[in-house]
C-alpha cells in the first residue's frame, strides 16, 4: 500500500470535483491510500501572496504544520493534485528551508495558533509527479484494460507544475514531455501542442477579461488546429478557464469552439476501465461526450446534447527534400537536451 498525506485544496472540493473523483478512483487500481490533512485551510491561490508576504507563508505554514502532525512511519509525502496548491505549499517549504530567519518568523506566528513546523519535514509533490515517479509508467501500462485508441489528446501542463520547479522534478520549464509519455502509455494519440506550457491567464478573466480571453483563445484554437479531440489538464484553474470560460471567450471573438477540457486522471481512469460517472465526467461545461464517443464510451449526461462534427484526421505529410534537420535526442521532437 502506498500511503500519502493528501491536500485537496478548495478547488477539489467543488470546482474541480471531477479531478477529486478521478484521483480517488485511482486509489484501488494503484494501491494508494490517501490521508487527508485534518482541518486544512485554503492555500491562498495567488491572491494571498499578492497582498501578504509573511502572512502567506504563515497560511501555508499552518497546512504544513498540520500535515507534519500526521506524518507516521516515514510517510512524509504530501500529495497536492491542484497545481496552485502544489506551488504554494512546495514554494513555502523551499523558502522556509533556505531562510532560517523567515522560518523563525513563521513559527512565531504559528505559535499563537498552537502550531509549529520544522522546515524539511514534509515533501510536497504533485499528483503527476507521484504517478510518474512513484508508480511509474510500466505499472500504469500494466493496468490499462481499455486503451484510449483513437482519442487525439493535447497535453496541457499550464504553468505552476513546471515553473519555477524549485526541486527540479520535471524535465523542462519550457517543453516537458512527461505527460505525453503518460498519455501514450494509456494508448491515446498525443498531438503536437506547442502551447502546452503557455499560461491559461490565471485569475485574469475576472480582472481584465479581454486579455484573458485572448490567452484562452490561443490555447483552444491551437488544439483545434492540431485536430485534438480533447485538451487534458493538470490544474483546476486551467480547467476552469478553458472550460467554464470557453463560452464567454467564444462570444467575445465570435468563434464556435467546443473543445472538451478534461483532467489527466480522468483519462487514466477510463483507460483503467472505470465508468465515466465514477470519474467526474458530466461536470465539465463543454460536453466531453463527443470525445468519449471516439473511444466508445457512453454516459448519461445531465446537460444538453451538443452537435458538431468530428474533426477529420490530418493527411500524412510528404517527406520533404532539402537540408537535413539537426539530430534530436529522443522520440519526441521537442524534448529538452540537458
Amino acid at each position: 500500500m502506498r500511503k500519502y498525506l493528501f491536500y485537496p485544496g478548495c478547488s477539489l472540493e467543488r470546482n474541480a470535483s471531477a479531478y477529486y473523483d478521478s484521483v480517488m478512483a485511482l486509489r484501488e487500481p494503484l494501491g494508494i491510500e490517501f490521508e487527508e490533512i485534518e482541518d486544512w485551510n485554503c492555500c491562498g491561490a495567488t491572491e494571498y501572496t499578492s497582498l501578504h508576504r509573511l502572512g502567506s507563508f504563515a497560511l501555508q505554514g499552518r497546512n504544513l504544520a498540520l500535515a507534519a502532525k500526521q506524518v507516521a512511519g516515514g510517510n512524509n509525502v504530501l500529495a497536492a493534485p491542484c497545481s496552485a496548491c502544489y506551488l504554494n505549499l512546495s514554494k513555502a517549504e523551499h523558502y522556509l528551508r533556505g531562510d532560517e530567519h523567515l522560518a523563525a518568523q513563521v513559527n512565531e506566528a504559528l505559535a499563537t495558533g498552537g502550531l509549529s513546523y520544522r522546515p524539511g519535514t514534509i515533501d510536497v509533490r504533485h499528483m503527476l509527479d507521484i504517478l510518474l515517479n512513484d508508480i511509474g509508467l510500466e505499472e500504469i501500462r500494466a493496468k490499462v484494460v481499455k486503451p484510449l485508441t483513437g482519442l487525439r489528446v493535447a497535453a496541457y501542463y499550464g504553468c505552476f507544475v513546471i515553473r519555477p520547479d524549485y526541486e527540479h522534478r520535471f524535465s523542462s520549464p519550457e517543453y516537458p514531455t512527461v505527460l505525453e509519455d503518460l498519455l501514450e502509455v494509456l494508448g491515446a494519440e498525443v498531438v503536437e501542442y506547442p502551447a502546452k506550457a503557455h499560461c491559461c491567464s490565471g485569475h485574469m478573466p475576472s480582472i481584465s477579461a479581454p486579455s484573458a480571453y485572448e490567452l484562452i483563445r490561443r490555447l483552444i484554437a491551437m488544439a483545434v488546429e492540431k485536430k485534438a479531440h480533447t485538451i487534458v489538464t493538470l490544474c483546476p484553474m486551467c480547467q476552469l478557464n478553458l472550460d467554464a470560460y470557453q463560452a464567454d471567450m467564444n462570444r467575445f471573438f465570435g468563434t464556435k469552439y467546443r473543445m472538451p477540457i478534461l483532467y489527466f486522471t480522468q483519462l487514466i481512469g477510463l483507460a483503467f476501465g472505470k465508468a465515466p460517472e465514477e470519474l467526474g465526467f458530466g461536470k465539465e461545461l463543454v460536453d466531453a461526450r463527443p470525445a468519449l464517443k471516439k473511444i466508445g464510451v457512453k454516459m448519461v449526461h445531465p446537460a444538453e446534447e451538443t452537435g458538431g462534427t468530428a474533426p477529420a484526421a490530418p493527411k500524412p505529410r510528404k517527406k520533404e527534400e532539402g537540408l537535413p534537420m539537426p539530430k534530436m535526442p529522443a522520440k519526441h521532437q521537442n524534448e529538452e537536451v540537458s
Binding site: 467543488r14 470546482n15 486544512w40 523558502y95 523567515l102 512565531e108 481584465s208
Partner: protein, 194 residues
C-alpha cells in the same frame, strides 16, 4: 518640469533596496542587466503600462510614484516564464508580488478591480479558512463588472451550479480561530520588521 524623485537627492535607503528587502529569499534585483527577456516573455506584457524590465529600471531610478501607479504588477499572472528565463535568475514574479502589496500599503490601486479581487478573496480566507467562489464572484461582479458582462457570467454561474461546481454557502474550518490568530500575528511581525 516636475522634479522626479531621482533628481531630488538622496532620501535614505533607495527604492531598490526597499523592494529587495521586502521580498523573501534573495531576489537578486540588483543583478538585472536590463536585457528584456522578462518583458518579451510576459503573456500580459502587451497590456501593461510598463514592461517588467521597465519597472525595474524605474525602481533603480527611484521613481516610486510612477511604479506604484503602474498596472504592471497587477497584470502579472504568475506564469513564472520571466523567472525561469532570466539570465541573472532574478525572482521577478516574487518582486511583482512585493510591488502589489507595497502599492496597496502606500495607498495606491485602491478600488481597482485587480486589487479588489485579491482583497475580497483574502477576506473569505480570513473569515472562513477556505475560499468561497460564489461570494467572491457576486461581490466582485457587483462592484466591477459592466452590465454587458452580467448575462454571460450569470449563464456560466448557473452552469457551474448545475454541475455542483460551486457551493452556495461558505465553509468554515474548525480551527478558524487559531488560523486567524496566526495570520494576525504574521501581519504584526511583518509590520514590526518594516
Amino acid at each position: 518640469m516636475k522634479e522626479t524623485p531621482s533628481q531630488s537627492g538622496d532620501t535614505g535607503s533607495s527604492f531598490l533596496e526597499e523592494v529587495i528587502q521586502a521580498t523573501p529569499g534573495d531576489p537578486r534585483l540588483e543583478m538585472c542587466i536590463q536585457c528584456g527577456t522578462c518583458a518579451g516573455s510576459c503573456p500580459s506584457g502587451a497590456d501593461m503600462d510598463h514592461t517588467p524590465r521597465a519597472i525595474f529600471a524605474m525602481i533603480r531610478a527611484d521613481m516610486r510614484e510612477e511604479v506604484f501607479q503602474s498596472n504592471t504588477p497587477w497584470f502579472c499572472i504568475s506564469c513564472y516564464y520571466c523567472t525561469v528565463r532570466c539570465p541573472q535568475e532574478v525572482h521577478i514574479t516574487d518582486l511583482m508580488y512585493t510591488l502589489k502589496s507595497m502599492a496597496l500599503r502606500k495607498g495606491y490601486a485602491r478600488n481597482t478591480a485587480w486589487a479588489d479581487f485579491s482583497k475580497t478573496f483574502n477576506e473569505y480566507v480570513f473569515n472562513y479558512g477556505k475560499a468561497f467562489e460564489l461570494g467572491l464572484a457576486t461581490r466582485f461582479t457587483m462592484r466591477h463588472a459592466s452590465l454587458r458582462d452580467i448575462p454571460g457570467l450569470a449563464q456560466m454561474g448557473m452552469g457551474m451550479m448545475a454541475r455542483q461546481r460551486m457551493s452556495l454557502i461558505p465553509q468554515k474550518i474548525n480551527g478558524l480561530e487559531s488560523l486567524q490568530k496566526v495570520l494576525t500575528r504574521a501581519e504584526e511581525i511583518e509590520e514590526e520588521s518594516r
